[in-house]
Symmetry: D3
Subunit: 290 residues, 6 copies
């Protein structure tokens, strides 16, 4: 029923999990904790719960669910039936949990918010990935992520079979129109970038027209070219012009409707902000019996 | 062109703005900062920029935009042409900015990610609010928010004309099915809750059936009843049964398609998780001239 | 010898315990740790210690004591003989501890400062609670708490049998004289408050005179009325006027000497700032044998 | 009307003020801020306020009050009429404030909680200090402070004319009964301490009997001796025995009733835990006109 | 007397400066602040101070000095006579400062520790840079940095004219012997790396022998090759073999004595851990007149 | 092969270890973790590793190494063969480690950076300590430490057999030339210091000339005198003048070449900033087999 999409680099550091979960629990428990459960559930009541995907999708965030539960009840028993990166059908049970009812209820919303959001990103990514199967094109994300959750959302993109673009402004050089204008043109901006970049820093330059692409071809120095908001026809011409001298990334307004055509042009990457900034949450639930 | 929807309590504390922006900037600037701009833009270059709403919507997050820019360039000049809570047309200029080009480029993505996400929530909320105009029903949010951004998203809900539900588990008592089951029924759970709640803590109880609602009516003690996943017909009956003895909140699967019918039943509140967990970002941009 | 007063909602989240203890230990250990014990006690010396209440009182803070010890010596053995909320006689042994002598000595002052302060608050609260036994009046706290320790002190109030008032300014609406004045009177301020408050936010209004109370009765909309600094006679009249239409809270200058008379008037709540801002510490000690 | 007691070292670092106030404001404003004022006070309303000491006492904490107000309204106007360390009569106006009404109301409780608590400590300290006037004895504090507020409370002790004992376990060597027992006696423990202590670390040793004091006199090596729970008569003998070879500190159960007699014995210091752990708050208020 | 070496990307974000200085000041001021100055210098005394380089070197860290002073005295006047990246002679005055004497003395050690350490790194880097002048070889750093100061030390490397290697493990792929061994050889490890790396992630592989280099040449896929601990003769052969197909980095045991010979081989980069982990501080001082 | 130098007070609190390691790991793992190992090493691969001292020296930091490994792999097996403070020969194996290969590789650099730096400080300290063996002189450090690492470096000094000077400005009173000048001379400055200092605060005064020393002898009140930048001859005279009335500390430009002569003068302490601010790292390595 589930099929693993996980690429080997879908990985979250224990430090990052701990920090995200602690922050989210503090936000939800507030100053007095789960007052409803405290008032109505005995401290020693035990709950049996199932984490369930109510709709089909790609899962991301299970280690965060486990950590949220353990933060409130270290001794809780958890049996995972899926792993991040798995594609699952609707109604799949992802985890069985047995432990303190108060802890399960207290961690429920935090766990589901994290799991739902990250699985939403993974699922959206996978929708794109599916449509480019069999082509050379890979799907990548952008920096259009939820503030404070970037590393988690980039992880979810990997779980969905996508590739990460820059994690931040310091991750690589990406030259845009303003940089070109200020530096006085494509040759000059690339020379400046090259002079400053160490040998482990890649340089990508954004072009809006095939004329600009021509100029980049003349100058060289870039590792990749971002083709911004080009038509399918322009993309196809760009691929022909570049003949694999640079990595080519198509970007701007790519949707599930257009991605197959984009991939058919032969670009190496197609990037989408939508998969992180606007992907709907996956519907996940915690079915509890106390 | 813009019309203020802001209710007087749409308010963000300076401490919260500072914390959210610092965190988001640190995430994006990483360890080496905006290496592209540093390499290609002189330190003393000045940029003129416009913050623009590319599509129509309700704005939320402008104070965060201003703070992000000022964190990187304290002396930057900012002229705001809109306020949070304004409903604006596509292509509305929200802000004019003049200052350090490196700072503007360095803060751009953080500012837009915050503004786009919060305006997305405000706009989604307003879509619901529009559809209930003229009824007694008010739109409210849930705890299905982005981990780490709850207070900001709840603020965006207010900017969109919505009402906030609980900020966290400690904010009020909300009794759900599990609490009822463990406590041994509706009377018993309400008695326990009442015994523990101080005089400034409201009690809401979730019911799935009209029989349960009948029982709540018999017991009293609750301030509000959440009608979970009921049909339009059931909601109408519930309103008739309760005769304003309790506040009634409809919840579960309410969409833009169904909200008008829900409101027509006469419930006091309709709550939606979708407006926070799955609202698409509003398309906003920073048009820069250096 | 000990009798449990604990109400079921006396609860501290593990996150809060961890944060408070870490902060307090860091404050006391400073940059070089317990230099005296390091210089004079071998690293492998074992201590047996008893946590003792030197005077009678109500206990609050034992989980913090255990956490402080475990932070410095994870393997320490702790046997608790009392629970938070227990009323104990002088000389009651609350806990037996066996473990690293350096850790016990290093955590001693932090553990006792936390236990002494919180038990002081619980004991002071209980003194009030005892005097209202048999009446409808419940004792509640205020926001006059020690900065940085509010959630812990509110927990101690619950351990002492009291009820918590607002945890912060965002917890409920409490309208005071200045709000009334600015809004242009009681009707107007209550209308504004009602328009902004969600269905899970209670509204309390403070009145200084019976005439004001009369006005509140005419307007309605409030859930509770705070009777500020009224005489016993005024309180009695207020109760008669209100006839349970609102919850009534007496506040202002209530002492152990006056509380019985206040309760005899039939108010629902009597609130005291003294139990948190000025309660003396309970005398607790750690008797150590190495 | 006010008389400055401030000793030149009553000083709080700006970093510490900032941290304490930010923490306290966050605690009180919670996730939604001062909802009452937001709902009922216009954003541009201006308040005039007076910070008043309702009862006589020694003031400590005014810089924290100013910082709390400025955090919420950077442009607020503050005129201080007193300084920390001033002894003031009842009804003294300490500060005039003009600025955003919402900010004044939002910071009010935090400001008063800090000012009331620290002034309470300063006043309690001064009560002891007054009673030892004309003797060689100075009043000092202990480590029995409120967790998280130690540096602030030690500052308040200085404002009250007292002297600070250790700020933490790492501040000096203070040998107690357990250290003596484990090390095998007074000579041995002092030798160990001396061997480890650098030249800027003082050594104090606690003794319960005059026999122990005799032994310390024989060994030397200590800088100070803490006379624990001795009678007035024993203290007098101790002073005679020591003849200023060591600094002598009387400790244990010293009250306002006994302090004069303790000072008359000629000890150099008398230490009190009560001035920090159990001093009642000074009654301070913010009288506001909007 | 001073000559700027600064490359345009020597840049520190304001957030990073603030964080590093706050942390260092807190470490030095401790719980009671600069007790010596508080006791002996009046609060209103003004100091005139000069920040001086006692020995010749390359300066890095002046913005941190200014921030440290301003944190303790916001109104302090600072006139800078040098900029980070300047090479200065012994006894050069770098800054004139006029302001609160207590603040200048309180910030002195923190300011000098930061300036001395970072200038030490910049100066050490520049020593290497000088020796490769006129060659194609550039000097770069490693991850052998002081824990907690990496971004600052990498900045100092740039001030000294060096180039930054990876900021962290997530910055690029650098394949070492263990990775090769586990993956089953050079071809296989490069294939795995290539499959996972996005288009903005460079791949470098470390080789110990020319045979291994041969294999990398056969496989391709890498962007750079790290030649580990090779003799001058081997380096020369490697350059000849590679013919600019990859960037070549010489690493391992390179010293000021050997760097010229290394550069003469024609490698693109020579990396040194010594410039960050073992560079001596530059001797800087604050000459103060009060 | 190894010989323990550890003095009983070489101690690091668990809180401090946790904080330093978490911070260093976050710095190195960044936002995406060890991408190389994730791409090339299977998640379940096991590594056997040896922590080795490649050169002879004194070890400090092993508990930090263990914590770094455990943070990434809680179940890792660690067998320590040395303890902090041990003097070891080149090629000594300090620790055997068996566990997750990814965790070992991910923690490697952080572990070595901490161990190398602290062992470098310990070794440098011990070089001085060795040269004063048999004299009364003890080696002590200064506040010239790496910002953010002071407590760790002071610990390393103790591991090397040295004594700690002040941990911060609040640790003791150290009067320097500026304080003397402002206060109007040695008598006046010492009187002010004495008036403010509590009984557990030592007072040291810095003198540049024997005339100044004479004046200090006349005044008394100081516990220690720092002889700043004096010649060997002056130091000898100072010792003769003081006749053990004060502790004497020689400071300023003391090197491994001069330390024996300094010690021969009979001063009590010789302090060196070099051992913390400029000590080269000890060469340590992690030899890994996967």
């Amino acid at each position: 029923m589930s099929q693993s999409l996980i690429c080997p680099d879908a990985f979250l550091s224990p430090l990052m999990i701990d920090e995200a979960v602690t922050r989210a629990l503090a936000e939800d428990l507030g100053r007095a904790g789960d007052v409803t459960s405290i008032a109505t559930i005995p401290a020693d009541a035990i709950a049996r719960a199932k984490v369930v995907a109510r709709e089909a999708g790609v899962i991301a965030g299970l280690p965060l669910v486990a950590t949220a539960l353990r933060k409130l009840a270290p001794e809780i028993a958890i049996a995972a039936h899926a792993r991040d990166g798995d594609r699952v059908a609707a109604k799949t049970v992802l985890m069985d949990v047995v432990g303190s009812a108060r802890a399960v209820l207290g961690a429920e919303r935090v766990a589901l918010n994290l799991l739902g959001r990250l699985s939403g990103v993974a699922t959206a990514t996978h929708e794109f990935v599916r449509r480019v199967a069999g082509t050379r094109t890979r799907i990548c994300c952008t920096r259009k992520t939820t503030p404070g959750l970037r590393a988690l959302e980039k992880y979810a993109v990997r779980c969905g079979g996508g590739i990460n673009h820059r994690f931040g402004l310091d991750d690589a050089i990406l030259i845009k129109d303003n940089h070109i204008a200020v530096a006085g043109g494509i040759r000059s901006v690339l020379e400046r970038a090259k002079a400053c970049a160490g040998h482990l820093v890649k340089i990508e330059i954004e072009v809006d027209t095939l004329d600009q692409l021509d100029e980049v071809l003349a100058v060289g120095m870039a590792d990749a070219v971002l083709l911004d908001n080009m038509s399918i026809d322009e993309l196809r011409k760009a691929v022909a012009m570049v003949k694999e001298r640079f990595v080519l990334e198509a970007s701007g307004g790519i949707t599930l409707d257009t991605i197959a055509a984009v991939a058919a042009t032969g670009v190496d990457y197609a990037s989408s902000g939508w998969i992180t900034h606007s992907a709907p949450s996956l519907d996940v639930a915690l079915d509890i019996e106390i």
